[in-house]
């Protein structure tokens, strides 16, 4: 019996790792995808969209299996609720990546080369903040004392992303030669990418509370 329980647990540990890997990978794909879009490599861009959509599907189904197992096998009774919430919040990051990149595909905004650097930077910081929350979450499962080492970086990247995104929006609205609708459209894209870092920070705030609860 004990062996059975242990084996099941190893399975669930692997699945959680896999889930976290998926989110981390999606961040990289997102970054590459937006880069391809800005550089006008449409084929690459479309391939990345496919990849991210696929990752999002796998993430959803993994999350559902995990949730089911947690409840059916009544694992970690005292942190079960927290872990479920964490998984759902992390999954919403995947949704954010997918939503943002699809928006690019649907609207195909015209982004002038002078904004490229800033856009790339916002994307980079958003992805970094997600990467940090993934590291924090891994630590939450494996080594709770190390969570703090990663968590503070989430806020750092979020602030950086905020700054760049504000500058970008300012620059967009200073461009009198663009139509208002065009400016509003570009601003929405800057905001949507920046929003990913905000969501990551929200996840980190919740995670900080789970950590306190667990160490009580």
């Amino acid at each position: 019996m004990s062996k059975g329980i242990l084996r099941k647990q190893i399975g669930i540990e692997k699945q959680i790792d896999e889930f976290l890997d998926l989110i981390s990978e999606s961040g990289l794909i997102f970054k590459a995808g937006i880069g391809a879009y800005l550089n006008g490599k449409t084929d690459d861009f479309l391939r990345k969209i496919e990849q991210i959509t696929d990752a999002e599907h796998r993430g959803d189904s993994l999350r559902r299996t995990l949730e089911e197992r947690l409840y059916i096998q009544t694992l970690i009774p005292e942190s079960r609720g927290d872990v479920l919430e964490l998984l759902e919040n992390l999954d919403s990051l995947l949704d954010q990546f997918k939503g943002a990149i699809w928006q690019f595909e649907i609207e195909r905004p015209e982004i002038g080369p002078e904004f490229h650097e800033d856009f790339k930077e916002v994307v980079k910081y958003a992805v970094e903040s997600v990467e940090s929350i993934i590291l924090s979450s891994r630590a939450f499962f494996k080594n709770i004392a190390a969570v703090a080492d990663h968590m503070h970086k989430v806020s750092y990247w979020e602030t950086e992303s905020d700054k760049v995104s504000s500058n970008l929006q300012r620059a967009i609205f200073r461009r009198k030669d663009l139509s208002m609708s065009h400016r509003l459209q570009l601003r929405d894209f800057a905001r949507q990418v920046d929003n990913i870092a905000d969501v990551a920070e929200d996840v980190a705030d919740r995670l900080a509370i789970y950590v306190i609860k667990r160490s009580l």
């Binding site: 694992l75 970690i76 005292e78 872990v83 499962f141 494996k142």
Partner: protein, 487 residues
């Protein structure tokens, strides 16, 4: 009639199961790591195994109720203990079953006017204080160590979860085994000598002795108690005092077991002595009080704010009330049994300062003046004798104890049939040989037999500085009295 008397033993078994299962599985079920059904199954199986396999080792002692010298009295005492434990279970408080039994025996002592073992009373009071404190301290230390270990080893949340679950199962199973082994004698012991069962052999593979069959029935009663009624007390232990995390739940069970092992195990004491290590002093401990202490210890370690002090107060007052209620119920129901149902609830023990007794008292350093006037007068009970002593003269406590013990009548004759009835696994061949030398001799007092045996054989002599050996010898002596007593 046997079945009727047995019923109160079964009731005691049932209430023991309903109350004491919480000591081993309360924290596991309370922290939701083990489902109640699973806990009940594991607990029942191991209680039965413990009772039948290891409990039979104690079959030569009658358990605590052994001092009650008539079966109808034992029936009522067991009933009183069971009733008080049941009432506490209704109130969801974990209490000590053996303290309920001691309380009920005191009720019997009061009713029959026999000597009250004041030693066991002080022991109970000491347990209320010492046991929870010891256990709380152990729980705190172990928790700190475990927390360090988890931090250092970087154990994955799910691995920790399964390890804790496994540990809770293991500790619970072990605890249940010893629960069965240690308590079955209290539940069924008195009925062993009057059991109508005979040994059953299973195809020559193993044999169930008549005592084991009784223990099996008793442990089944415990198991039924676990299944039907133990959940409420489990939840008090597991969540009512302090909401335990799974790791803390495990730490509590371990701390409770360690306290029981270190401070109550005669096996450990024997081991330490035989290896020339100074033994840990034996402190009276109770499983229920140990687990409650451990939970409070963890609560205090976490700052103490989460502890439900109201529940703690309820539990501790339950501890104090249990022996008192048991004594009351025992006293009142013995009165009814004796006077309404005309049952013999005790065998009278008289007190008479015989010529030999007078000699012994003088040898003990008490001047003859202090008891001369009472010589030759027989008193029906210890209380009456004691009162007469007080009226006659002033005595120190030691002097009084010496006179009362010397004058206690217990007429015995060493017979062949008595000797052959002894358990040869326990009473050694040398000790039996000494008894054979005394065959045909008649004694008025227990101490006379003790002295006669010590005279003919070194194997019946007490040793200086060997408490363990002396305790064992004392048990053997009270065991053999029963075989040579008149009537």
């Amino acid at each position: 009639m046997f079945a009727f008397f047995l019923s109160s033993g079964l009731f005691l078994g049932w209430s023991l199961g309903a109350n004491d299962a919480s000591n081993v599985f309360g924290t596991a079920v309370g922290s939701r790591m083990v489902k109640f059904r699973t806990a009940a199954i594991v607990c029942s199986v191991f209680v039965i195994l413990g009772a039948v396999i290891s409990g039979s080792g104690a079959s030569h002692t009658l358990g605590k109720l052994g001092s009650v010298n008539a079966i109808a009295g034992a029936f009522m005492v067991a009933f009183a203990a069971a009733m008080s434990v049941y009432l506490m279970t209704l109130a969801r408080y974990p209490v000590s079953t053996s303290q309920a039994i001691v309380g009920a025996i005191i009720g019997w002592n009061l009713f029959t006017g026999s000597r009250i073992d004041t030693n066991s009373l002080t022991k109970i009071v000491l347990t209320w204080v010492a046991c929870p404190i010891l256990s709380a301290v152990f729980a705190m230390i172990i928790y700190k160590l475990v927390a360090l270990y988890i931090k250092f080893m970087k154990i994955h949340m799910f691995k920790l979860d399964s390890m804790t679950r496994y540990g809770l199962f293991f500790a619970g199973a072990l605890g249940s085994y010893s629960l069965g082994a240690n308590n079955i004698a209290n539940v069924m012991g008195v009925f062993v000598p009057v059991s109508p069962f005979s040994s059953i052999s299973f195809y020559g593979l193993f044999t169930l002795t008549s005592a084991q069959q009784l223990f099996l029935i008793g442990s089944l009663a415990i198991a039924v108690g676990v299944f039907t009624y133990s959940k409420r007390v489990m939840l008090t232990v597991g969540t009512g005092i302090f909401q335990l995390s799974p790791v803390a739940a495990f730490v509590c069970v371990v701390a409770h077991s360690i306290v029981l092992l270190l401070f109550a195990s005669q096996g450990l004491e024997r081991f330490l002595i035989s290896h020339n290590i100074p033994p840990i002093p034996l402190v009276p401990v109770s499983s229920s009080q140990a687990i409650v202490g451990a939970v409070i210890g963890i609560g205090l370690l976490k700052g103490g704010r989460g502890i439900q002090w109201k529940t703690v107060a309820g539990i501790t007052s339950g501890w104090i009330v249990t022996p008192i209620i048991a004594a009351l119920i025992s006293f009142i129901s013995l009165f009814f049994l004796q006077n309404v149902f005309q049952q013999k609830t005790y065998r009278p023990v008289g007190y008479l300062i015989t010529i030999d007794a007078a000699q012994r008292i003088r040898d003990g350093g008490v001047s003859e003046e202090k008891f001369k006037g009472l010589q030759g007068r027989e008193f029906p009970t210890a209380v009456k004798f004691s009162n007469a002593l007080s009226e006659y003269t002033e005595l120190t406590r030691e002097e009084r104890d010496l006179i009362v013990l010397s004058a206690q009548m217990d007429e015995m004759e060493i017979t062949r049939s008595g000797i052959t009835g002894l358990d040869t696994n326990w009473i050694t061949p040398e000790q039996i040989a000494a008894l054979e030398l005394l065959e045909g001799r008649v004694f008025d007092h227990q101490w006379q037999l003790d002295e006669a045996l010590a005279e003919v054989s070194p194997y019946w002599r007490f040793r200086e500085d060997d408490d363990k050996y002396n305790r064992d010898l004392r048990q053997k002596l009270s065991y053999i009295y029963r075989f040579f007593r008149y009537g």
